[in-house]
Amino acid sequence: MWRLLPKEVESLWTLFTAPVVWALHFLLSYVGAAVFCEKPGLLGEDFDNLRVAIGLITVLSLAVIGVSALLAWRQWGFGTGDPPHDDPTRRDRLLFQGYATLLLSGLSFVAVIFTALPALFITECLR
């Protein structure tokens, strides 16, 4: 199964993946809802469609964050290491980065759910 994923991701960018997904999801949800309500008809008429759309991008975002977490978990050695990984070695740098990425992914996962939660309860532009 691990063959599906890149063998080794060794870049600082992986660290940012999850928070970037969180930011994009936040912008899409809030800007989308604002435009939908302020310009009736531009993005459709039925508020439920907007809620479904937010639901879909939420599932997509959670999936991407999940993959990022999985890669980070692998980089961290599936939890076999013993933090804080603060030796000045290449190995510790890798493990530290994996661990930090995993934690950031967890935070982003929860944040994306919290961002989407209003769409579960709010049923109209004015409600």
């Binding site: 929860v110 919290f114 939660l117 579960l120 309860f121 109209e124 004015l126 409600r127």
Partner: protein, 353 residues
């Protein structure tokens, strides 16, 4: 907030005057007015408190507040207890695994669960806080326009007629009322803590707010967005009346006050001093709209947007000294007006019931 509980008894008044009158010479007035407002603003119960609800929306807001407060206190108590346990009663090392489990459960799972529950509860309340009726079958609609430092209040009745007033809001008990809120100059915020949450008045935009009073009495609303030098003095009494009383009160305001014809000479003075350029008085030539409608100003509980109680003397004081009473207000001062004119105009205005 706590200090206040021990001092003034002023916040207990509910049906009386909305505001104690600062009866001081004009030198002391500048200090006296803001200070006299302090007990009203900071009390926990009384005419201007979100924790002493008199409306459906305010009740939900108060419940939310208590749920959040009790929840927060419970967590705080738990954390302190844990800290005491660790530092006093059970000193000694625990295994790395136990520490890890504590962090995962106490530092991740627990807060995420609690925050999710509290957030979901608050969001779940939101739709019922904005229960707008069907546009076509709306009952009373009250239009509020904020201006430095006063409120235009227009009652739109279901039959299409409208009645203009200012600086005071009257509402029928138990009825749902929809407010449409806008501003003529800068951002203000309309807030009647006893009845519900606040909503901004934004120039070029109309916001909606829906309130349902559940207890009759006199409350106090306040501008809640800084809007200039006299922002703190931009308030208004809110009177919740029995629906029948409200209807007859409103009906009486649909035509000119009988007081208009009491003194034709005062009316002439009012017009000659140019008051009619900014103020409207039904039944006279005064048609100005840049100041509050004065057609029935004598029957308001307060003068100057909840600044002072309303009688002929405070009326005269406001007209002569508006700038020292309300710095930056757009009402000019009339320090040089002959006192005979001032008294005649004030008495006439007070008579506009």
């Amino acid at each position: 907030m706590t200090r206040e509980i021990f001092i003034s008894g002023e916040h207990q008044r509910r049906d009386g005057d909305a505001e104690p009158a600062p009866r001081r010479s004009s030198g002391a007035v500048r200090v006296g007015v803001p200070l006299s407002a302090v007990p009203l603003i900071v009390s926990c119960n009384g005419i201007q408190s979100a924790l002493d609800p008199a409306g459906e929306e305010a009740r939900q807001v108060a419940t939310l507040f208590w749920v959040m407060t009790v929840g927060g206190l419970a967590i705080w108590a738990g954390v302190i207890a844990l800290a005491l346990y660790a530092s006093r009663w059970k000193r000694g090392a625990i295994t790395t695994e136990a520490a890890g489990r504590l962090i995962v459960w106490g530092g991740v799972v627990f807060p995420v669960t609690v925050l999710t529950a509290l957030l979901a509860y608050a969001l779940w309340l939101m739709p019922s806080l904005r229960p707008f009726g069907d546009q076509t079958q709306a009952g009373l609609r009250v239009e509020i326009v904020g201006s430095q430092f006063w409120w235009r209040v227009v009652y739109h009745r279901p039959d299409g007629s409208s009645i203009v007033s200012a600086n005071e809001v009257r509402l029928p008990l138990g009825r749902r009322v929809e407010f449409s809120l806008t501003s003529s100059d800068m951002i203000h915020s309309f807030w009647i803590p006893a009845l519900g949450g606040k909503m901004d008045l934004i120039p070029g935009r109309t916001n909606r707010l829906s309130l349902q009073p559940t207890k009759s009495g006199t409350y106090r609303g306040q501008c809640a967005e800084f809007c200039g030098r006299s922002h703190a003095l931009m308030a208004f009494p809110v009177v919740v009346m029995q629906p029948g009383d409200f209807e007859s009160w409103l009906a009486a305001r649909a035509s000119a006050s009988p007081g208009v014809v009491e003194s034709r000479s005062a009316e002439t003075l009012f017009l000659r001093h140019g008051c009619g350029d900014c103020h409207r008085v039904d039944g006279t030539q005064a048609r100005g709209t840049s100041g509050p409608d004065l057609s029935h100003v004598g029957s308001r509980l307060t003068i100057g947007a909840s600044l002072m109680t309303n009688d002929a003397e405070t009326m005269a004081r406001f007209i002569a000294h508006s700038q020292s009473l309300k710095p930056g207000s757009l009402m000019p001062t009339y320090l040089d007006m002959p006192s005979a004119d001032l008294d005649a105009i004030s008495a006439w205005l007070k008579g506009l019931q």
